[in-house]
Subunit: 364 residues, 2 copies
Amino acid sequence: MGVKGKEGKVGRRVTSKEVAAALGVSPATVSNAYNRPDQLSPLLREKVFEAARELGYAGPDPVARSLRRRRVGAVGVLYSDRLSYAFADPAAVEFFEGVSVATEEAGLGMLLLPGSARGARDPEAVGNAVVDGFVIYCMADDDPLVDVVLERRLPVVLVDHPGVEDVPYVGIDDEGAAAAAAEHLIGLGHRRLGVVSFELTRQMTGGLADLSRPERATFGPSRARLRGYASAIRQAGLPVSEVPVYECAESTREEGRVAAEALLGMESRPTALLCMSDQLAFGVLEAARDLGLSVPGDLSVVGFDDVAEAGRTSPPLTTVHQSHVEKGLLAGRILVARLGEDEPPEAGLLPTRLIERGSTAPPG
Amino acid sequence: MGVKGKEGKVGRRVTSKEVAAALGVSPATVSNAYNRPDQLSPLLREKVFEAARELGYAGPDPVARSLRRRRVGAVGVLYSDRLSYAFADPAAVEFFEGVSVATEEAGLGMLLLPGSARGARDPEAVGNAVVDGFVIYCMADDDPLVDVVLERRLPVVLVDHPGVEDVPYVGIDDEGAAAAAAEHLIGLGHRRLGVVSFELTRQMTGGLADLSRPERATFGPSRARLRGYASAIRQAGLPVSEVPVYECAESTREEGRVAAEALLGMESRPTALLCMSDQLAFGVLEAARDLGLSVPGDLSVVGFDDVAEAGRTSPPLTTVHQSHVEKGLLAGRILVARLGEDEPPEAGLLPTRLIERGSTAPPG
DNA sequence: TCGTTTTACTTAATCGTTTCAGTAATGTAC
DNA sequence: GTACATTACTGAAACGATTAAGTAAAACGA
C-alpha cells in the first residue's frame, strides 16, 4: 500500500466478465450494477461493487462502452497549428476557454488536436480522434484536415472559416471590423498607413507586400481584414497600392517587432500601423519604444482582438474588440446541442467594436 | 455539392462490413487496405478506397479500432478546477503548452478534463475518459478524482502532487523556492512581511489568517510555500505568528487586489508582500498603484512562477522563476514514454531561481 | 514435374461492453 | 386457486473493427 493507501501500479486490465465470474452472475448483471441499479437487488449490487474492488475492476471500460453506446463523451477542437502555438496566443486561449465552458456544461471532455501546419507530425490523429464531434477553429481554407474531419460525418461547427454547406459557422465581420479600424485612423488624419499582417500564403517567408491583392490570402479572416483595410483606404481616396503590408509568419510579439522595424525603417515612414492582432500590436509597441518613437505621438497603433492585456499596455491599445470567449462558447454550445437532440443556438456573426484607448491620436 | 465540393451533412455511420459487401470481399480485406497494404494487391486496395469513397466510409471507426488495438491515441490532462479557470491562468496555460509539445511529438491528442472543484458537473467524465494515460496536474491532496484515475491502472504522471507510490512525480522545491523569496525580502531589510496565499482549505471564504499553521493547507504546493516562507522568517528571528496571511479563493488579479487592500489596510502596514503566484502579485501591483503606494518605494512585492508578463509590468516583477513549459514537457514525455516501451526520462524536481527585477527594494 | 514458397485472400475469434428479449420465481388481485 | 404483474436475473446478439491462422491458387526452383 502506498501513502494514504493509494498506489499507482499500472495493471492488467480487469473485465466485467471476470467480476461476473467471481460472483457467479452474468456480465449483464455487472453492467446493470453500474448502469441501471433498478435492474438488480441492492444487495447484489453491493456485492458486485465489492467484488469489483477486490479484483481491481474500476468500472466499465470507456472504450468498449463508447463503442456500444455510440457515444464517447468528448468533443475535438481542431486548431490550425501546433498547440504550443495556440497556447502562446491569448486569443486562442480565450477561445478554448469559451469552448470549455460549453463542454463542461455538458459533462464532456475537450480533445485538443493540432492541425497540419508546419511541423505537424501526424495528420492521422485527426482521423483517429475518439470524439463525438468537432469544433474547427482557425483553419486555413485549403487545409486538408478540414476535409478529413468533414468526411467523418460527425457534427461539426466551423469557426472563422465560412462556406461549407450544412455546417454551422461562427465568426465575426472581419471585413467590417478592419474597415472600422482603418477609418478610425483616417478620421484622425493619418495618410501614411501601414499594415502588419498575418501570413498570407502557406509558403510565405515573411516580408513586405502591398494592399493591392488581398484575395491571395489563404486564411479567410486575413483576406477579409485586408479587404476591409483596403476598402476604407480606397474610400478615403488614398492610393491602396502604396500601403505597405508586412507579412508575419506567426501572430507573436516578436514578429510584430520585426514587422514594425521593417515598416518604420521605410523612406516615407507610416504614421499609423494597422495590426491584425493584438499580439502583433504589442510587438509594434515594443519596437516603437526601442526606436525612440512615442505612441501615439509619433506613431498610432491599432490592434485586433482586444485580448485582456490590451488594456494594460502603455499606452493602452486601441483595438477592435471581439469576444473570443463568446465565440468559443457559442461554437461549443452549438456543437453540444447538435450532439443531443436539442435545438442549437443560432450560429452566425458575433459583434465587434472599436475600442479607442491610448495608442491612437492625430499624426504629430 | 457544397462550395468547393465540401459538405457537412452528418450521416449514418458506414462500416467496413458494408464496404466489404459492396465489393464482395471480406471485412478483413478492407481492414488490410487501411492498415497493411502489403496484405493485398494494389489494385484491390484501390478498389476498396473507391468503394469507400462512394459509400461515404471515412476509414475505420476510431472507437472500434481503439477497442481492438487497446490503444486510443490520446492522453488525459486532469486539472483541479474548471478549465475556464485554467485557461485564465498563464501558469496553467504554459504547462499545457509543455504537455502539448510532448503529445504532438508522439502524435497523440490531449484531452483536457476538469477536476472536481467548485462547479464540477460530472466527475464521471474522468472515469469515462477515453485515453491511454493521464497527467494529473495541480490537484488538491484530497481530491477524489485522483483515486478515480489511479484505479483505472493506466500510466499516470503526477505534477505538483507528490506521495503516491509507483507514480512518477514532477514538481519543484516549493518550500526552498518560497524560502528564497522570503530571504530576499528579509535580506533587503524588510521586517513587516505579509503573505498573499492560495486558498488553504476547501471551504475557505477568503480572508485573513497567519503563518503559524501551514500544515492545514490541502494543496501540496501551498503548504510547502507557506512552510518555506515561515522557515525563512523564523530563521531571521522574526515572529512568524505575526505575519498576516491573506487567503485568496483563486489565483487571479482580482483576488490579489482584494488581498492587497486588506493587508495594506492593517494598522501596522507590511512593507513587503510575498505572493504565491504572479497573478496575485499583478493584482497587488494594481492595488498599490490605486492606493498611491509606490512599488518598490513604499512596498516591495515578490511573485511566484515568472510567467511571461512578469517581465512586462511596471515595475517588472521580482519573482521565483519556474518553467511551467518544462514541467509540462517533462510530465508529458514521461507519460508518453510509459505508454510505449521506451525508457522514460527521469522524473523529479525542476530547478527554480529568484529573479530580481524592479518590484523589490529596501524598505523606504 | 513435383515440392516449396509466395501471394492474395478468407474465416473466425476477440476486444469489453450494453441491451433486447427472454425466463423463472415471487407477489398481488379477486 | 387461477390469472396477471412485478422482480431479479440470464443468454446472446450487437457495436465495428483487428489479427492469427488457414487455404487455395499462382509462382518458383531444380
